[in-house]
């Protein structure tokens, strides 16, 4: 394995009694990159990341992390990685600083707990019990614990799920800072904006497989157009009529609206409006946005990420 790969896994399979969670998944993460596993709930993201973290054994497939395997060097690998689980809960009766001291103590080399407090902006909560922290503060504590051992590689499983916008921004800053200092990150998320903002490359995962891989820009460029129009009219226009609107590359009819992928808004929006008018229909709603990873997922699977 070339030294430039922080994670390399091939043909990963993990079955549970009732479901195949991971179904032949390949992944390679370069050193120094921020890599995102993107997919709906139940896609197999958590199982995958936990296999890479050495917390679950795959049924088959190979995993190399930082050049070694979990079987050969479990203890040495644990010293070199940091992680936050989905919904880690620390002991409610421990204080923030006590929790950090414990995590620091199990690593040979690491960051001083007081410095960690500064890093994740929890200084004023130093002596508060963990049970008294808000969701965002708990998540920052989880990240601080992940950083306590000065890891080379950071695993974050849905780090911003359930956070308020301000807390998300702070976490994004920390992740970016970690990467700037030479760290490698693998994170899972079902927020498209998060992946677009943070990740150098993303893998879209569905049903335990990677169905698309690339930089966010590359993935978006695989769409037939760069813009998306959501339109609702009364009565509705048929799919056929919509396809004939100039510049429309793809049409998806949903219950509440039709979603059109178009090359240029300037070309398609006026044409769409006149098509509605000439059909004797009334415009109810019209929204447009630049194509996002969300649209890529819809394009690939016909489903939305959040409710897939």
């Amino acid at each position: 394995m070339p030294e430039s790969l922080a994670i390399d896994c091939q043909d990963l399979v993990k079955k549970f009694t009732d479901v195949v969670a991971v179904n032949g998944l390949d992944l390679s993460v370069k050193t120094g990159e921020c890599f995102g596993l993107l997919g709906p709930n139940g896609a197999g993201k958590t199982t995958t990341i936990e296999i890479l973290e050495g917390l679950q054994e795959p049924d088959s497939g190979t995993v190399r992390v930082l050049g070694s395997t979990w079987r050969d060097h479990p203890h040495r690998l644990r010293q070199r990685i940091g992680l936050s689980l989905q919904e880690t809960q620390f002991h409610e009766k421990w204080t923030v600083i006590e929790t950090l001291r414990l995590f620091r103590s199990v690593f040979g080399d690491g960051i001083d707990p007081e410095e960690l407090l500064l890093e994740v902006e929890l200084v004023e909560k130093r002596d508060s019990r963990v049970g008294k922290l808000s969701g965002g503060q708990k998540q920052r504590l989880a990240v601080a614990c992940a950083l306590a051992g000065k890891p080379e590689l950071l695993f974050l499983d849905e780090p911003t799920t359930g956070l308020d916008p301000q807390s998300r921004l702070r976490l994004w800053d920390q992740i970016t800072r970690f990467q700037k200092n030479g760290g490698t990150i693998l994170l899972t998320t079902h927020y498209m904006d998060e992946a677009e903002r943070l990740c150098d490359r993303v893998a879209v995962v569905d049903h335990g497989k990677v169905i698309a891989l690339g930089t966010p820009a590359e993935l978006i460029s695989t769409l037939p157009g760069a813009n998306v129009i959501e339109v609702a009219s009364d009565p509705r226009l048929s799919e056929e009529t919509l396809r004939k609107v100039p510049g429309v590359r793809e049409v998806q009819v949903r219950e509440d609206a039709a979603v059109l992928v178009v090359g240029s808004l300037v070309e398609s929006v006026p044409a769409l409006l006149s098509a509605i008018e000439s059909a004797g229909s009334r415009l109810v709603n019209l929204r447009t946005h630049r194509a996002t990873l969300e649209d890529v997922f819809v394009h690939l699977t016909g489903r939305h990420l959040r409710d897939a």
Partner: protein
Amino acid sequence: MRESPRSPLLELTLLRAKEFLREPEAVFWTFAFPVLLALALGFAFREKPPDKLPIAVEAGSGAAETAASLARSEFLSSVVLEREEALAALRRGKVAMIVRVESSQPVFIFDPTRPDARAARLEAGDALERAAGREDRLKPSIETVREPGARYIDFLMPGLLGLNLMGTGMWGIGFSIVTARSKKLLKRLVATPMRKSHYLFAQILARLLFLTGEVVVLVGFGWLVFGVAVRGSLLVLAVTCLMGAMSFAGIGLLVASRANTIEAVSGWMNLVMLPMWVFSGVFFSSERFPEALQPAIGALPLTAVNQALRAVINEGASLGAVSGQLAILAVWGAVSFAIALWIFRWK
């Protein structure tokens, strides 16, 4: 500001200890509850001067004099009642016997199958004879004997100590581990380079910290309030408590080794502890159970702790004298610890 990190074992032990002290309920159950229980039971079964035997005298001529004569005995009390009332009082056990005066002679009415009635009859006979002018030829002098170590409270205190060792050992370890497991804290910890043995060992070390407090509080309380003295050496007492605590810590670890929820572990704990509450001689001697059960009862860890504690506290037994019980405890502790390590679920 910068501090060099302490050893993980120390951090884990301190955290476990703090976690316990920040749980007021746990502190209550460990320290206050056994003391309150001892206090309540100690007063319920406290030493009293011997009860006076109550005797009813049927109303009629000479009743008042007879009643007064009876009451002069230090072992008797008397009351004058109408015939019907007196019979009712006898039936209900409120009086031990009835004395009726018929033509200046007493008639004793009592149930000879009742020991207190027989004693009342003898005392009443004596009292009335003396009142009638009898001179006793023998004048026995009386020595009152009260053997410390033979009272109920002397029996009870070691039992409560044993019960406490079991309860705090098992709940203390079991709850802490299952809480950590159900909140994924264990999973998070094993995702670090922490040594698993450090985690388990810290639980036991923290347990030892509180053990000292528990034993001192309960033994000190028994001594100060009820005069229950430790007749054996304090060192042997300490070794016995230590062995008991380790044994129950091992069993607690085993019970908690796979449970995922507090409800599940509570059920298992009760299942394990309830038989010992009943059979192991905490509140009454386990020798009351049939002979055939004795080998099984004797093999229970709480029985072993209680027997050893009673031997040391009440009888001043040496280490050698309780070695059999200590061996039983060592086996329970070692076997359950080994199985627990083997089947322990970290995730």
